[in-house]
Symmetry: C2
Subunit: 414 residues, 2 copies
């Protein structure tokens, strides 16, 4: 299914040229577990001394890999030597058998890499509730380990896809203390994308030398404005995972806290990579034909601004109207109203594509339906709402809701 | 659009035979405001002494009619002589002009009925943000008043539809103190259906003799288990309204409190009418092909049970899987997990159509995909989840998410 779906019209033109990153090697393979004719297994190996930070789904029914990573990262931070990801089976809601399958995989990977099982991070994505046949993975690990090389980022990003129609990668170069460091990231995700660990897998690595606690603080901050600001369908996966690895190969001075001013450029570039990956996930939203940004201003708090923006972004009626290129802005007002946060109906203003639509509780006299409709026909839709009660703002990203979403999800397992 | 859509396959076979109800008369007409070739205007007249109770949308951007009814019903209760409802224009987010249009309509109706403006309840449903041309309504009021008659319930229910594919009515006879009383109700609604005043208009009348405070208490209780337990698309309208009128024509003894044991039969019959109307709204969910009941047991509280049940009922992934007749129960687990309420993953059990699916955190050894798939092919889908942490339960009703929903909502205004 995934492999044969046409590529999203919102996909970036090219996969970025991902340079090698000192201390990290990758390899992928095809287990045949679910997908035919494509890789579905990724092994990454990290040199000794690699720090890692992770953030995970808020689901109360997390997958076995999420449980595993949480257990081996104290407060979301620690050290790692390997990452093993499979696509097609989420190993979620699989009970003790799923846990056993995971431990078999971790042990097999640890043996190949020469580390402890707890240093192997695991990610699984795909169907929930299906038992994972670990033999199909463990049998491939010797060959994977033999293939590890620093230039396989694109193949890795291809391997972790499920219904994704394109591989998602992003890269940047930052300076710490005058020393160049790289940041490479990949992500997968196109359904079950909802806020707060936006339901996907994302793995970002850097050769910077950063201790686990600093890495974790940087990751948390960056997730707030990237993966936590996207939604495709308001559903939250059991498997959401974002991990940041630092191999420590770059020869800059010691950094002991996330607020260190020498990290300014690094923080910006990390945010750029994370934001890029998050927006690529939206661009691959199942059935997506339009990329939508929703900016809410004038809210009572940042939390309220985000909640209102998400209420708009998750409204099926707003999303179908946009799919139909219909400037039905009344539904935006509806979505503001249902968010349950302070908003002044009579001070509310709405702009679409920068054009005036509504203000002071009614249609703006300057509203031009033909101009707004012209904007609606484009691929990038901009909604701005000022709710008129405060100073806080938030921007979230989503996509439209189309027949493609129904097609993909009504027949996912068949 | 609405008029030409095929009737929902989930529609009841017939509109019920609605008997006359002493003290209430109805008339409908076609304003031509939005729909062609059908009535879109309902006037109801109530005899003097009619009590009324109302409950309204939780939206922070309520429509002008919601503001109006709230203003004239102190604490949601009072007396009324008329109800005027138009379909096609919600008179929402229309500012002071919308308010003026509403007052013109109320004044014209009051003149015809011979009451004060504040005794005229108003309902409007349709497009948000469009100015209401009150002259198209006020001009018809003399003719409507002349046509008022006690046997026009079905025509009334037809007139208040928007995208509804069938008119929704329900009726019951109850005894209070040995005296027979009638309960007649009608509802409209098929999109923007979400919990807590499930986004629709519903008007129920009885000839029982009940003071406004008793009526309000009865309504509140009955809404909790009917209209507040349904969801089509999680969107909340600006116009949600449920009103209960009591004309006071029945000659039973005085009832001074909702808990009066003489109201036992009446309460049951009211619940039946309200529940019937609420389920009919779900059966007319935009694009609905399957009626879904979700029962959650073993929750920590009633509120938690409802929140988990709604998380399942509102999940686009669950709803599309059901549309595809796919027994993808992993998505049910996902939806339990994302609800944010206490649930024990490892004690969770799931049944579909009464058949065992999952228990103790994994697929049930007795699970038969072919049996469950056979159930999925039916029109009524039953999902039961025990979350394994407490004793509380809740049942909610929803429908599947199909191409029809996209078709209807991508082109609603065209």
């Amino acid at each position: 299914m995934a492999a044969s779906s046409p590529i999203s019209p919102l996909a970036p033109k090219n996969f970025p040229r991902m340079p090698a990153l000192a201390g990290a090697r990758l390899a992928s393979a095809a287990s045949g577990m679910r997908y035919k004719g494509r890789d579905d297994l990724l092994l990454m190996a990290f040199d000794k001394g690699t720090s890692v930070a992770g953030m995970f789904t808020t689901s109360r029914a997390p997958s076995a890999p999420v449980d595993w990573c949480r257990k081996h990262l104290v407060n979301g931070q620690g050290h790692a030597r390997a990452l093993l990801v499979n696509a097609g089976n989420a190993n979620a809601f699989t009970g003790i058998k799923g846990d056993k399958a995971l431990r078999d995989c971790a042990a097999a990977a640890a043996k190949q890499i020469g580390c402890t099982r707890g240093q192997v991070m695991i990610g699984s994505t795909g169907v929930i509730g299906l038992l994972l046949d670990s033999a199909k993975i463990t049998g491939l690990l010797p060959a994977l380990a033999a293939k590890l090389n620093p230039d396989a980022w694109r193949a890795g990003a291809e391997a972790i896809r499920t219904t994704d129609t394109f591989a998602k990668g992003a890269t940047a170069t930052a300076k710490i203390d005058g020393v160049e460091v790289r940041i490479n990231g990949m992500a997968k995700g196109s359904g079950m994308i909802a806020p707060d660990m936006a339901t996907m897998l994302a793995y970002v690595a850097t050769d910077a030398t950063l201790p686990p606690d600093v890495l974790h603080a940087l990751l948390r901050k960056s997730v707030q404005n990237s993966f936590n600001m996207i939604s495709v369908d308001s559903d939250t996966s059991t498997s959401d995972t974002v991990m940041l690895f630092a191999t420590g190969k770059a020869m800059h001075g010691a950094v002991l806290r996330a607020g260190d001013p020498r990290l300014r450029d690094f923080r910006q570039k990390l945010d750029a990579v994370m934001g890029d990956l998050a927006r690529q996930v939206v661009c691959d939203g199942e059935g997506a034909r339009k990329f939508i940004s929703v900016r809410v201003t004038g809210a009572a708090s940042g939390r309220a601004a985000k909640k209102i923006a998400m209420s708009i972004a998750n409204s099926p009626l707003v999303k179908t109207a946009i799919a139909g290129e219909d400037a039905n802005w009344g539904r935006i007002v509806m979505a503001v109203g249902k968010a349950g946060e302070a908003a002044s109906r009579d001070a509310l203003s709405v702009r679409i594509g920068g054009l005036p639509v509504a203000r002071k509780g009614m249609a703006d006299p300057a509203y031009s339906e033909s101009k707004v409709t012209a904007h609606m026909k484009g691929q990038e839709i901009e909604i701005e709402v000022d709710v008129g009660v405060g100073q806080a703002a938030a921007t979230v990203w989503t996509c439209d809701l189309t027949h493609g979403y129904i097609d993909i999800n009504a027949n996912y397992r068949s």
